[in-house]
Symmetry: C2
Subunit: 512 residues, 2 copies
Amino acid sequence: MTPEQVDHLGAAVSGRFGVAVERVPPCPLAEADLPAAAVDPPSQLAAMCRQDDWIRASHTYGRSYRDVVRGHQGTFASAPSFVACPTTEDDVTAVLEWCGAAGVPVVPFGGGSSVVGGVELAGAVSLDLTGLDQVLEVDRTSRAARVQAGVYGPDLEDQLRPHGLTLRHFPQSFECSTLGGWIATRAGGHYATVYTHIDDLVESVRALTPIGVWESRRLPGSGAGPSPDRMLLGSEGTLGVITEAWVRLQDRVRWKASAAARFETFAGGAEAVRALSQSALFPTNCRLLDPGEAATSAGVTDGTAVLVLGFESADHPVDAAMARAVELVGDHGGFLPEGVRGTGPTPDAPGSAGAAEAWRSSFVRAPYTRDGLVQLGVLVETFETAVTWDRFEALHAGVTDAVSRVLGEVCGVGVVTCRFTHAYPDGAAPYFTVMAPARRGGELSQWGDIKTAASEAILANGGTITHHHAVGRDHRPWYDRQRPDPFAVALTSAKHSLDPAGVLNPGVLIGG
Amino acid sequence: MTPEQVDHLGAAVSGRFGVAVERVPPCPLAEADLPAAAVDPPSQLAAMCRQDDWIRASHTYGRSYRDVVRGHQGTFASAPSFVACPTTEDDVTAVLEWCGAAGVPVVPFGGGSSVVGGVELAGAVSLDLTGLDQVLEVDRTSRAARVQAGVYGPDLEDQLRPHGLTLRHFPQSFECSTLGGWIATRAGGHYATVYTHIDDLVESVRALTPIGVWESRRLPGSGAGPSPDRMLLGSEGTLGVITEAWVRLQDRVRWKASAAARFETFAGGAEAVRALSQSALFPTNCRLLDPGEAATSAGVTDGTAVLVLGFESADHPVDAAMARAVELVGDHGGFLPEGVRGTGPTPDAPGSAGAAEAWRSSFVRAPYTRDGLVQLGVLVETFETAVTWDRFEALHAGVTDAVSRVLGEVCGVGVVTCRFTHAYPDGAAPYFTVMAPARRGGELSQWGDIKTAASEAILANGGTITHHHAVGRDHRPWYDRQRPDPFAVALTSAKHSLDPAGVLNPGVLIGG
């Protein structure tokens, strides 16, 4: 965002919270606090390593509110010692060998979009994998491709487009995250149902571990023991470095229909989403925004909740599915002031308009807006979870109450809003956004209080500490209470056997 | 089957292979070879244990051809020492504690329908879990239930029916297998696409391990680390004893449509299945039978391949989906001599007829027919795999050739046929059936030669050694070459930490 755009945003925020906000530009890198490196690159790695201030600062954090605040303040206390930039698997192996022998921790780094402290480790080697960015092979018959892990989302889609194929995995971080990062963190895509999680789009994974290459066979399905891929999915760099994957692709969409339904209450909309997710209609989009989110993200200010509903297909018209979905919406008290927008068959049909398009545009812009808010001293953070339908109302009330209370205590004023990012037959993934004026210099402490309150409420009400943001370091206290103890024992043993020197991203998921 | 039914079958087989076959009745239990128990139940377990010949014989094997032959011959050399029949989790814990302390291996036993040597271990304690057979809790809102692991398929459905819900997981072993067995072996259901694997129907799992209770949180989705459930899925009793699971249920079907399409060739039908599976129409049934299977299982004897196609829904009519599927069939050279049978909305609509119904009926009877064939001295075995579409033709030819060759060598005559059990966007699950006259007393050696030839061809052509039959002991030589070595190291370490005494079903999946 330009300074002018930030000031414009500041005026809106001031009006909303009734407090003055002022834009403070970020600390210039030359004035930043960047500790000396604990270790320098050895000669055999020197050619692929960088150690200048910019590269170390840009590999210190992910993109959480806490990270953006610290970057803005110019505090890079946990900077890596240096950044290794491999362009081949042999390079990666060389880095792992040296780190293992020297006992220096190594943190795989893709797009650096972690919001859970997943890439932050003072003095480590940051292993930047974005030099491994090629689609190596395309199997048009099976609709699959062998892809290097360091490719960014847009670059991946650019390389697939000439083949008429798409991964169709669009997390909000799409522009600044990589395939390997998606796999390591079990990323959730933009779509609401069925094939949206990277877990289901992975056909096989290749990873380099200190004890050798871990490569699964390309298979559409298999019952041969516990899935090796599912052990790497979510391993967050603790078991090995993902270098390649075969991924399942789809044909490009030809038919679309979208609608924005309104509900008097969020709870009423939730009942409609439950019916839709249990209908096996498989809507592509099924995002429910509470009245607060509807106002800020979809331009709907009459106090209703908005359900952004969409169907897409590469093979057949989606009118019948949308018609039945609209019936279900009506059965649950919803109404469609703008009707259904249906388009196709054309390859580039936008297929959405009005409130639905406003929401989509806001969704894509959100990460950039957040940086502007930090400059304005506004605390903005998100908490996401998933919970079964029977517990949803209690969880929603519990989290909203707990966060509202702590906002009053530590910020004086603030708002907490909620939307659904994904819907399942047995539950939903509520995603909470918190916004409040922060105290300059007190942001991290305020964030800590809010994060703790939200996480405690999520756990107490039967949710998961994360639905698609991974565990990293920030979620550890709650993850440690959530996962089965014997599973943690098993995973720890597995890690020790793969990484005897304990250098692979220590501190995330398991261990001290 | 009655002796008369077996004789009737024998006449058909004689005609088919041009050899005389004779029914030999099974060896009576009183004359069977059943070794003395290596160990007796300790006093504290005595009340829940049984050691009579019948219970030991009935817990010696699973239900593979090899197992049925040995049972028929009265050879029970690998009988368990005794069978423990717990009715509570405390009972299970007591058995695990004693086995760990005494160093006696323990084999979890559900319905005993393993076809891969998964429950066979001489001198072990067979832990029969079928006393844990209750649906403990039903959450109608989230459509989920907490179910004890030892419940058989039909009993589970009986308990769910009053709630208007169904698990809709119908493996061919449905009548003689249990929920816990399905989870431990990653069972595949009857349905062709989307929600059919037990993996996707599990919301959480509870297992007892020697170091404590492993219980995951009920969640519709989660990105918090590698999935603990996915580590238990396929663990085949090596990591713990599954005692309960929350499973995802569905409403009962109201709309159905079915059709049986014909294709000039199996390869032509495969192209149609590929198009269907990549269409996102999600047919409930999409089983392609080659001309040999079409003749024996669907009564179609004109040399065409048959595609049994079905759509079902609890929520909406399926005519549009079937109509588009029929278009795709036509695009790939298929034709529908019997048209489409569509019914509903009625709760009990059969929804299938003609070739489709003939196939369904044959599918359900198959396990019983097999026992009759063994009495007749006919070798009948199945091999199943999954492979990506680009490799399907080569795999089909490779397996068919290799098995045909070995059939000629060891049986003189025999047939190998193929069908698809499941279809994925990126590949299919071909399922081969072999039938040949065996040499009395030579069955196991003949089976071994055929199994080896088939397994080698599957591996060489990019398939998985099993798509939904698990690894057990029979698939170990090929599984060991298929799974990534570092994964095996990780899994072995995980097992050692959970089962330090090494008593949990040793020999399956990993270890010596």
